[in-house]
Symmetry: C2
Subunit: 227 residues, 2 copies
């Protein structure tokens, strides 16, 4: 699978993200006309990600946000009850999407090699399709309320555990060598995250997500097969 194909298979459009969000948070949004809500949510998320990722969520005021996306501050509060509410809901939403899609793509694969290969690709492709969301989530975790932060950290560990389990499975079947599975998963995660954390750098160097996937797959397999 290449990125182009992944994109066709699951349409992670900005609109689809908002539609899903609306369904899950219908009760906490004061506006009731679906079409309006989705249109405005799209504007809110794009603006919030743009401003936050440029200068940090804390530095973004709700006035900044309303100016950028076109609604008044008052109207904004019909969608999110507070600035913190916006942060928490965005984090939660990203994490739901990610866990759902990873599971969808990994479960069908049978052997460890194919699972790991798929995990690398799906994680990179997802973070490519939703780059601002991933960057936002990473950079703003420490600014969240304690309970929300714990949720986010747990979600991050859950993803790491998917990798750990694949490695253990591969070691049992003797398809991978016996390196520490936790450490292995950890550095694999670090490489996966570098893609969305340093996206500008890779863009400047004309490295596509497919190039990157191929390279780190080579690195990972070289060491997992190295005695």
């Amino acid at each position: 699978m290449k990125y182009a194909e992944f994109q066709k298979q699951i349409k992670i459009t900005r609109k689809s993200i908002c539609k899903e969000f609306y369904k899950q948070n219908q009760d906490s949004i004061r506006i009731k006309k679906e079409e309006t809500v989705i249109r405005n949510l799209e504007k809110i998320f794009n603006a919030a990600l743009k401003i936050s990722n440029a200068k940090g969520f804390q530095a973004m005021s709700m006035r900044d946000l309303s100016n950028e996306m076109g609604l008044s501050t008052g109207a904004l509060y019909a969608y999110f009850s507070s600035k913190e509410d916006l942060l928490n809901k965005m984090q939660e939403h990203r994490h739901n999407i990610v866990m759902h899609i990873i599971d969808k793509y990994i479960s069908p694969e049978k052997n460890a090699y194919q699972k790991l290969d798929m995990m690398i690709k799906v994680h990179l492709y997802l973070s490519e399709a939703m780059q601002p969301w991933f960057y936002f989530s990473y950079m703003e975790t420490k600014n969240m309320s304690k309970s929300q932060r714990e949720k986010t950290v747990a979600a991050s560990f859950a993803i790491e555990k998917v990798i750990t389990d694949i490695i253990k499975q591969g070691q049992e079947k003797r398809c991978f060598n016996k390196h520490d599975p936790d450490m292995s998963a950890s550095i694999i995660k670090a490489m996966l995250q570098d893609w969305y954390l340093k996206r500008k750098k890779y863009a400047t160097r004309n490295i596509s997500v497919d190039d990157y996937a191929e390279f780190i797959k080579m690195v990972i397999m070289a060491f997992l097969n190295n005695p």
Copy 2:
């Protein structure tokens, strides 16, 4: 070399960091008695790193800072002319220390293998000794003034280039295989950075900086020697 030895060789104490800082910024600090300045700088940096790394530099007010470190807000402004000034000077200071020490340790090494080995260790050991500084620098880069941000990004690329050059040298001497040197340096950097970005995780799992150094050295050498 192990971490314990590195620590003995260069005493990166909090005090020595402040002393060096004082020498380089003597003119912009209104207080003149060296002893007082160094004592207060130490308090300021510790408090700023503590608060910033917990909830972000933007979210830290100068009042927070003065409460935490014991000076009045007014007195604080005798040391730093603004909150932004504090951010920029801290970034610059960290980057001076890092470049200086990396050069000191890498230059004497002759062959590429030893240079790379040393680079991995020195970077990890430095980021261990100055973890709050490294974390701060990484997380707050995007919040800096444009010129300061460009400096920081350039400094980061300079470090990456040290790695790239070592890899190229090793490839010429046929001690490493022909993988893309830029991409190789890039993912090595990602693994080095993971150490200070996820320090809590590794602490929880009882992974020491020496364990980590050994593990990623194994990963890196496995792939650099893999045809």
